[in-house]
């Protein structure tokens, strides 16, 4: 019965993974469980955004004009140029996070820290950009309680910004944990989860950017 473990030759990555996994089967099993749990968490988080995106689309489609009027004043469109610039910052942070994880896998600690810090800085940069964006939108007369446009915009980008903020804190904690030697070359689930989370935040932003600035 013990022969059920595959003996066929494995290629490339799989061989490396199998070598690590054989070292510690308890870790291998808990890793796959935690990974699935984390993916499900991200999927359920998608539903949270999905519900508010549905609300936004519903309100926008059923509105007689968009942007809507508040009193006699027609609200302005959002500023696409700046948001595009800010998006590039966020997507850039996705790229740097990718490099950070790859460097960890290849045991380049120093490069990992550099890329991670770059990611954190870009994330903070995006948040600053969002703060600037919000003040601009507010100055244009779009407020949170004032209109459905403001309600959808501030709720959704606020939720997203909160996710980015949590992500920045999360990545910082991961960096400190890595420094304390919690992760090794074969056991780094926390870093994988952090990277997944950060990419998730990117993907959500793609959707939000399209809905608010392109549509």
């Amino acid at each position: 019965m013990a022969t059920a473990v595959a003996t066929a030759p494995l290629a490339g990555h799989e061989a490396v993974a199998a070598r690590y996994l054989e070292v510690d089967p308890v870790y291998a099993e808990t890793r796959s469980i935690r990974l699935l749990g984390f993916v499900f968490f991200l999927l359920s988080d998608c539903v949270l955004f999905g519900a508010f995106i549905f609300a936004y689309v519903y309100l926008r489609i059923s509105a007689p004009t968009w942007p809507p009027f508040v009193g006699n004043h027609r609200l302005p469109w959002f500023d696409t140029a700046f948001a595009a610039l800010n998006s590039i910052v966020l997507f850039g942070s996705g790229v740097t996070m990718h490099f950070a994880l790859e460097n960890w896998k290849h045991l380049n600690r120093q490069k990992f820290y550099r890329w991670l810090i770059a990611t954190i800085i870009l994330g903070l940069g995006f948040l600053l950009g969002q703060a600037h964006e919000w003040t601009g939108v507010l100055r244009g007369g779009v407020t949170w309680p004032g209109s459905t446009m403001g309600a959808s915009f501030f709720t959704l980008t606020g939720m997203h910004g909160f996710h980015v903020f949590v992500g920045v804190c999360y990545l910082t904690v991961l960096g400190l944990q890595a420094r304390r030697g919690i992760y090794t070359g074969s056991k780094y689930f926390g870093l994988t989860a952090g990277t997944l989370y950060w990419h998730f935040v990117d993907v959500i932003w793609v959707v939000l950017f399209t809905l608010f600035y392109v549509w």
Binding site: M1, A4, V5, I33, F41, S44, D45, P68, W144
Partner: protein, 575 residues
Amino acid sequence: MEAGTTAPHVGHDPHDHIHPPPEGFIRKYVFSLDHKVIAFQYFITGLLFMLIAGSFAELIRLQLWEPNGAIMSHNAYDTMFTIHGTAMVWLVVIPLVTGALGNFVMPLQIGARDVAFPWLNMLSFWILPVAGLTLFSTFLAGGAHAGWTEYPPISLADGTAGALWCAAIFLVGISSTITGLNFMVTIIKMRAPGMTWTRMPLFIWASFATAFMNMFATVALSSALFALFLEHVFNVPFFDANRGGSAVLYEHMFWFYSHPAVYIFILPAFGVISEILPVFARKPIFGYKMIAFSSLAIAILSFAVWAHHMFPSGISPWLQLTFMIITYAIGVPTGIKVFSWIATLWAGRIHFTTAMLYAMGFLITFTFGGITGIFLASVPADFHEHGTYFVVAHFHYVVAGGALMGFLAAIPYWYPKATGRLMSERMGRWSFWLFFIGFNATFFPMHWLGLEGMPRRYASYVAFATGNPDAVFWNQFETVFSFLMVVSIGLLAWNMIWSIRHGKPAGINPWGARTLEWTISSPPPYYNFRKIPIVYDRPYDFDKPLPYRNLDNDIDAYPEPSPVLLRQEPVRAGA
């Protein structure tokens, strides 16, 4: 057996690793990580909330004794039905069927030592009492009045109480989502070796479908309530028509969760029935695959039927048509299940234990509730029935006659596994018949009261009673019989307490059942399985030896019901 080839290796395996038992009262019973203790915590909390929500139900029935309202003001009545509905849905039924039943049975049935994330499991339980206290604290803020659906704009008039209501149910939503996620991962990743998808017990299929809905739909509920909360507290105009919002939007967001929620209630009950019927009919479940896949079909379709709650609420005619058709489609898998259960009874050797009585009662009441569902799914008929007592009757047949009845069937079946003592069959039979008669007499007349013109959520029904003089009689009839259910639940509670001291020892497998939880001692050890069993086949083939290897205990190859249960030796209360 061809299954032998798929059995995985044993030895040098994470499965050999057992954690030491927890020590100290707090670790063992309060902040326990053990799924069985958490299940008991859910059970007790759920029953306490049921006591409160159930007494509100009786106050509602007493109020309707007279057309003018017998005992309380309209204002008080509105808070009663609001909190009755809210608490029953979110603090009673969902915690009981997923939290208590799912937590206790699911890991045992898949041969796991615990759920995937025990710490999250503990967290999702402890959110529940906090949510409950938040919900009941609405009374201190003037009470929530808008019904369990909490439609704006009327719910916005409740002010602080409404905001607290949102916060409470938001918390329950978080708890429920975490449980769903936890159960999904557990079922996907932690089944015993050899337990392929099509060898899983049907309760696990049902739990899996439930967990799927819990994980995805509940977040939508949390979003709806978050938006409503923002409107309460920060005046954000999602639902305010004066500022471009839409009250119908809330209904969409709310029902996108709350229709799957109905299946979150009922699917675990389906699973319970699929377990109990074969055991007490002493024959394999009929149509295993059809029952299993229909659970999944229901779970998926349930996401596409929500707007049938909103036919007269202001959605486009074409949406009405679409949702009517999908709703009719969901009737087909449900029908397949019911027919398969009846075929399971055919040519069985039926043992009338308490659990079996409840299961057969379930078949009748649930089928009736399902059929009235077909009436409500038809758009034109719904234009008449919507918002009346017909709807009240329908969903009580489905939720109380379906989900709760399934849960009541599960209590005498699995409670002995948890305590090691059998419950009294005699008291059990009494509590079944009291419940069955009380339930039907309470809710059956509501069908015609509704059709004749009695709207729901009426604190008084003077105008209706003037036109229909027998309305008063039927309302009083319902009130009287509703107390039979109180007696029944009281008897059940007493039976549970009584059995811990006086019940006969249950032994490992009192029912002659074949799923994995009946191969370990009662109550199960904290680690459940010392050796992780290996599974070779489905647990329903009564003509074949048990399909397990590597069991902790020496089990008969063909399990038989314990002699104390057979008719010639009736178990008497106090005997």
